[in-house]
Symmetry: C2
Subunit: 335 residues, 2 copies
DNA sequence: CTGTTAGCGCATTCAG
DNA sequence: CTGAATGCGCTAACAG
């Protein structure tokens, strides 16, 4: 009898279906003995409630949707594992949905919402303008992870991440402290909010140090190895002169370093490189990457906690800004 | 009107619910014009069928469970994305479940089976002995991806992967061809089937070349950076002498290289390194990794195809062995 | 505390 | 080709 229903359990235990339902849902209004008895019958029969029927009835699931934009970004892969773990901790199961870099995450979210009716959503990556335009239409508790923006103000959208501008200010300041003044920057397009913030932070750091930011030293790259590799090659092709590079992610840094080395430069002897994210690889590569480490485990945990509070207690959305940390590796050299 | 039902569509389109249902399920017995009309109404209304109701009715889901053992293995992260993509291609949605390295994947699978009733499962990583002991109890179509073993013979368990023994034979033979004879090996424990096969292949290659395999040159490592780093340090601590290293995964190779470099060795000048897997990073690191590339996209695609055939047409389980490819990078030097 | 009953949204006979 | 009616398994009033 592999597929029992609560009816069968009701029959066997001599109770009614509603009592069984109450036991399943751990309602208080069941006599302890009855509950015990029903529980035993259920165990003996190997009964498992039908999730579909349950969810059809209550119109929602116990799942969270993780919407990931940017599948080639290793930082996100790492982060997803943490999210899953945290979700499980709170009794939810996470369903991952990968999106193309140029997909619209709001449209995708709406589709997911209708299809699987998650109780909450967590967005990894995403464009602020897409959110501004469309997020109003989605009403489930949500969290935008690894991104904090003051331009987004929705009652059901929390944000958890580091202050990208401050973090990249720190990164570039570090390069400047080490004596660099010709600093190239590699990162995402202006339509990417974190990229924009990181760029602003970088420029601010230069300005504050009296260094003129040169647009010629800015290379456009997506958050993947290949794109970064090509971006650096373009920089080199136009004879950009720099002694240091700020890459807006470790993955970008790796791709860039590969291009630099292929072109005959040494890191850090000829070019110093500082990354961003602090993926595991950054600690095991040669040279060890100097990078801004995002506290990904904390971000994941806090994201889930916030989401669960929003879901279960109707808590208001919050913005949490966590502190990144500078990992002093070997990829930056003082000059 | 965020939550439409087929009833609404029926009303708007002037048809009955059954016609709508037929259109949704792409049944042939609907007049083309009617179908077109209904389709238009559905699009205009942004209607999405309720998955729960549908699945409750047809008593099965359209989801596949991906059971991943080993969250720190970047190769699996890459691979999962491919699996998701392939699943979507076939109209299924994949649900990922991450397991601890020392969890029992069969127990986990049984739980997943009861909870979400997937139509099929794909296992990433897993111990052959666990399968031998417990897989008989699970009856849904399954695929063991990236692992091929002749010790597993279940009517509902397909396997897709490379011939680990042959592949590592190739890897070590390559080192030997390059003049190496003192070859260290870093890899998983004997309880890991791929590790065992890769070890056997490596030893065979050495035997065939008349090289004595020295147990002192074998280091035990899990498939993560840190473990590999420590394993290499142990090898160095016991003054193992070698000019080349066969690492059973790229991640292991990276961890080992980091340890080597820290100890003052250069790669490949002092020690040549060959890896396994061919993760994206292997092409963008310095030096570019010489490695055995698993055709992960193919493995993912074939795994899903096989699974879908088993599910939809009751096709028998199959074993598919794919050819890996040697990526000649810069981490191996002839001596 | 417990039982009866009416749907949740959809697929599917069975009649037209 | 199309429509009306039934029930999948479960929860939640409502009525004892």
């Amino acid at each position: 009898m592999p597929n029992m229903t609560i009816k069968d359990i009701a029959r066997i235990s001599g109770c009614s279906v509603s009592t069984i339902s109450r036991v399943i849902n751990d309602r208080p209004d069941v006599r302890p003995e009855t509950k015990e008895h029903v529980l035993k019958v259920m165990r003996d029969a190997g009964f498992v409630p039908n999730t579909n029927a349950r969810q059809l009835k209550i119109q929602q699931s116990r799942s969270l949707a993780f919407v990931v934009k940017g599948t080639r970004n290793i930082f996100f892969s790492d982060f997803l594992v943490q999210l899953q773990r945290a979700a499980t901790l709170y009794g939810y199961n996470g369903i991952v949905s990968y999106l193309d870099e140029n997909a619209n995450e709001i449209d995708a979210a709406e589709k997911i919402l209708r299809e699987i009716k998650p109780k909450g959503m967590i967005f990894l990556g995403g464009s602020v303008s897409n959110f501004q335009k469309g997020f109003a239409s989605i009403s489930v508790p949500s969290v935008l992870a690894t991104l904090v923006s003051d331009k987004l103000n929705f009652p059901n959208l929390s944000m958890v991440g580091v202050d990208d501008r401050a973090a990249s200010y720190q990164a570039v300041s570090y390069l400047i402290q080490q004596g660099h003044s010709k600093i190239a920057v590699l990162g995402g397009p202006v339509t990417s909010y974190p990229s924009m913030m990181r760029r602003e932070g970088a420029q601010q750091a230069m300005r504050d140090a009296g260094i003129q930011f040169n647009d010629n030293l800015y290379g456009l790259s997506n958050y993947d190895f290949e794109s970064a590799y090509h971006a650096m090659n373009s920089l080199l092709a136009r004879r950009a002169e720099f002694t240091a590079l700020f890459a807006m992610s470790d993955v970008i840094a790796f791709g860039a370093i590969r291009a630099l080395v292929s072109a005959g430069f040494r890191v850090p002897e000829d070019v110093s490189v500082i990354g961003f994210d602090g993926i595991t690889m950054s600690r095991y590569c040669v040279p060890v990457m100097t990078t801004i480490v995002q506290p990904s485990e904390q971000i994941a945990l806090q994201s889930i906690e916030l989401l669960v509070r929003q879901i279960e207690h109707g808590a208001p959305a919050q913005t949490i800004t966590l502190q990144p940390e500078l990992q002093r590796g070997e990829s930056v050299r003082a000059i």
